[in-house]
């Protein structure tokens, strides 16, 4: 009798865990439209400038300027 109760309890526990897991998963579906992490700069948000000798790409956080540069990055 005691063995049967234990079997029934274990079965109920398994069924309940499966049902709760399925309920949790279906209510937390992955959003296929979520942005990639880490974020990758979309080429549509970057401006590409072809210049003699190479290609310059500016992301949205770097603005071009017509001002005279105070200094430059260069190979040393």
């Amino acid at each position: 009798m005691r063995a049967a109760i234990l079997k029934a309890g274990a079965t109920l526990l398994t069924v309940a865990a499966t049902a709760l897991s399925a309920l949790y998963v279906t209510s937390h579906l992955k959003n296929p439209a979520a942005p990639l992490q880490p974020a990758v700069l979309s080429t549509s948000r970057a401006s590409v400038v072809s210049a003699p000798g190479g290609t310059l790409t500016l992301g949205p956080s770097v603005q071009p300027s017509s001002a005279q540069p105070v200094t430059s990055t260069y190979a040393s």
Binding site: A51, T55, L56, T57, S61, V62, V70, T73, A75
Partner: protein, 273 residues
């Protein structure tokens, strides 16, 4: 917005030209920064046998006490190794020596040697760092030339005040809004861009060349001077040291992968084949 007066100072150190710019900073602050660069450069050069770096290289095989600055740079080097998937590897000294780069170029052109492929060891396999000390595997050697200038520029930017720019041989770090309020105007790939709390750096195989095939940019995968199809990469990133790491990595991955790599890690980039 009216231009604010900019105090500037230019000097030679670290084997290259250095420039400091600051709004609302004193002349004395710039001169103290000059002194700091020269002092730290003397401790980190591999060309002087009594520098802290050379003593550390000579201590290979055992734990050696190191200064907080060298410890910080070695930890940054470990991070650079991880973020570049091993392409920025400061355990490059033996390869530098093998290609003949054994003295500053100001002391004469290196002697071209026969090139033999010898991939670099993984940095975590040869370098261990703990608080106040580090250990280098016997036979390995560290050269911080590929990371130190950007790292130093970031610290200078912070020390010179909230609106300053430090350029150490083309590896630069800019903080604040610059003299006109929109950012510091900096030349990059033939254009001018405005940098605000950002860094920029250039990696190139066009300079420091000798003997035809020899130059200073070693590909850790071969231990030989890099030949990837890109000759020069300039990058804007969140800091000077980050820009230096990304520029070097982009050059080493070559023209096929560099645009995607830069799109993921840089804020602006110049690729020149």
């Amino acid at each position: 917005m009216p231009h604010k007066p900019v105090e500037s100072h230019h000097f030679e150190a670290l084997g290259t030209n250095c420039s400091l710019f600051a709004v609302d900073a004193s002349r004395r602050a710039l001169l103290e920064a000059d002194f700091w660069v020269r002092g730290l450069g003397a401790r980190l050069t591999r060309f002087s046998s009594d520098s802290e770096l050379s003593r550390f290289n000579a201590s290979a095989g055992r734990w050696q006490d190191i200064s907080p600055k060298l410890e910080s740079l070695l930890r940054e080097s470990m991070r650079a190794y991880e973020t570049s998937s091993g392409l920025v590897n400061v355990a490059i000294l033996r390869s530098m020596e093998a290609v003949g780069y054994t003295r500053p170029l100001s002391e004469g052109r290196p002697v071209a040697t026969e090139l033999r492929a010898c991939p670099l060891p993984a940095l975590p396999d040869v370098l261990a760092v703990r608080p106040g000390a580090a250990r280098l595997q016997r036979g390995a050697g560290i050269d911080l030339g590929g990371i130190a200038k950007g790292w130093m520029a970031d610290r200078l930017r912070d020390s010179l005040g909230p609106n300053a720019l430090a350029n150490l041989g083309g590896d630069l770090s800019a903080g604040g809004l610059g003299p006109a309020g929109g950012g510091w105007p900096v030349g990059l790939g033939g254009a001018t861009v405005l940098l605000r709390d950002q860094g920029a750096a250039t990696s190139s195989v066009r300079r420091r060349r000798w003997g035809g095939e020899h130059h200073h940019l070693i590909d850790p995968r071969t231990g030989l001077p890099a030949r990837t199809g890109l000759e020069e990469v300039s990058v804007v990133a969140t800091s000077g040291v980050e820009a230096e790491i990304v520029a070097k990595t982009a050059l080493l991955v070559g023209p096929e992968l560099a645009p995607a790599y830069c799109a993921a890690h840089a804020l602006a980039w110049w690729l020149s084949p």
